[in-house]
């Protein structure tokens, strides 16, 4: 870490939970973010600002007028551009030292597996069950921590899954044959709700990179914006889960 970084990240380095060592871990880290919409925008911006060294951002949609109410990595001039490209510009302006890789095509299974395996942490900022289940499978196959966020209307949910800890996975919460997709286009969404959940995803990803996962393991957090309430639910591993059952916990030194 040079003088520029020491100064730029001084407010984080000051924290006992981060310190120079923690900041260096962030600078050395690689995060994969799937989705550059309402959740992915603030998540990526906070991770870039906080000094995560490398962000791989994936989205094959293009920016539309109706996205701009909440997808804050994109601007009016970006309408029609691929979201991954538009977000890359925003992130590079925010932090030129952050290495951004933009993926503006739909990853096939092999490419997704490769990207998940290379990442230190994956953020699921997607908007559909198919992607969520695929990402969950890959994360557990390669042992990569997965921060899964969702938001719609005036509510949100977030959980971090830690394959190495013997904890639950996304499919322990939602059965894999789930149907009845909902979309923000149909249901609506209050802009800062995705901001709250996306920022929380960035925060949980930083905790993973800093090794502070005790508060994340086996917990699903639910946000009700109208009631201004958070609920926490303890989630055990489903012993019949087709994705994670039978996986052993992996601990350093074992």
């Amino acid at each position: 870490m040079d003088q520029h970084d020491a100064n730029r990240y001084s407010r984080q380095i000051r924290l006992p939970s981060v310190g120079e060592h923690g900041q260096q871990s962030l600078l050395d880290a690689r995060c994969l973010i799937i989705g550059m919409g309402g959740l992915g925008s603030p998540a990526a911006m906070y991770l870039a600002a906080a000094g995560v060294g490398q962000l791989v951002i994936s989205d094959f949609d293009r920016v539309e007028d109706s996205n701009l109410q909440r997808q804050i990595a994109h601007r009016s001039v970006d309408i029609g551009e691929p979201k991954a490209i538009s977000a890359k510009r925003t992130l590079e302006a925010l932090n030129p030292r952050c290495r951004i890789t933009a993926i503006d095509w739909q990853l096939d299974d092999e490419e997704l597996a490769d990207q998940v395996a290379k990442a230190d942490v994956v953020l699921d900022c997607s908007d559909n069950f198919a992607t969520r289940f695929a990402l969950n499978r890959q994360a557990f196959q390669s042992g990569t921590p997965l921060v899964s966020g969702a938001a719609i209307r005036t509510e949100g949910q977030i959980a971090t899954f830690l394959p190495q800890d013997g904890g639950p996975c996304y499919q322990c919460i939602y059965p894999g044959d789930l149907e009845g997709e909902e979309s923000c286009a149909l249901e609506g969404v209050l802009a800062p709700v995705v901001g709250v959940m996306g920022s929380m995803q960035a925060l949980q990803a930083l905790l993973v990179l800093l090794g502070r996962t005790a508060g994340l393991a086996g917990r699903l957090l639910l946000f009700d914006a109208l009631a201004m309430e958070w609920q926490s639910v303890r989630v055990p591993r489903d012993e019949a889960c087709p994705v994670c059952a039978g996986r052993k916990a992996v601990h350093d030194g074992d």
Binding site: G35, G37, G38, L39, G40, C125, S126, D127, N128, F129, R132, G149, A150, A151, I152, R153, T154, E155, G156, Q157, I173, Y174, L178, E179, G180, E181, E182, S183, C184, E187, V189, V194, M197, L220, L222, F223, D224, L226, A227, E229, Q231, S232, V233, R234, V235, P236
Partner: protein, 77 residues
Amino acid sequence: MSISVRYFARLREQLGRSGDELDAEGIRTPADAWARANGGDTLPANTLVAVNQDYASLDSTVRDGDEIAFFPPVTGG
């Protein structure tokens, strides 16, 4: 004693109340509690259930004094 039922987010909006206190007699599962509190209204698909803040299923066992919470699923982003 009784069983407390809580509704979260969209469910609270749709039902117009944040919860119910039910006589525990005859309630053995979250499904029983939902049926007692909401009569013929079927539980929305994929609703998540917690008993005393532990993830549960609709046919988990509940006891006198338990708190059951119902949460709508969220997938958007």
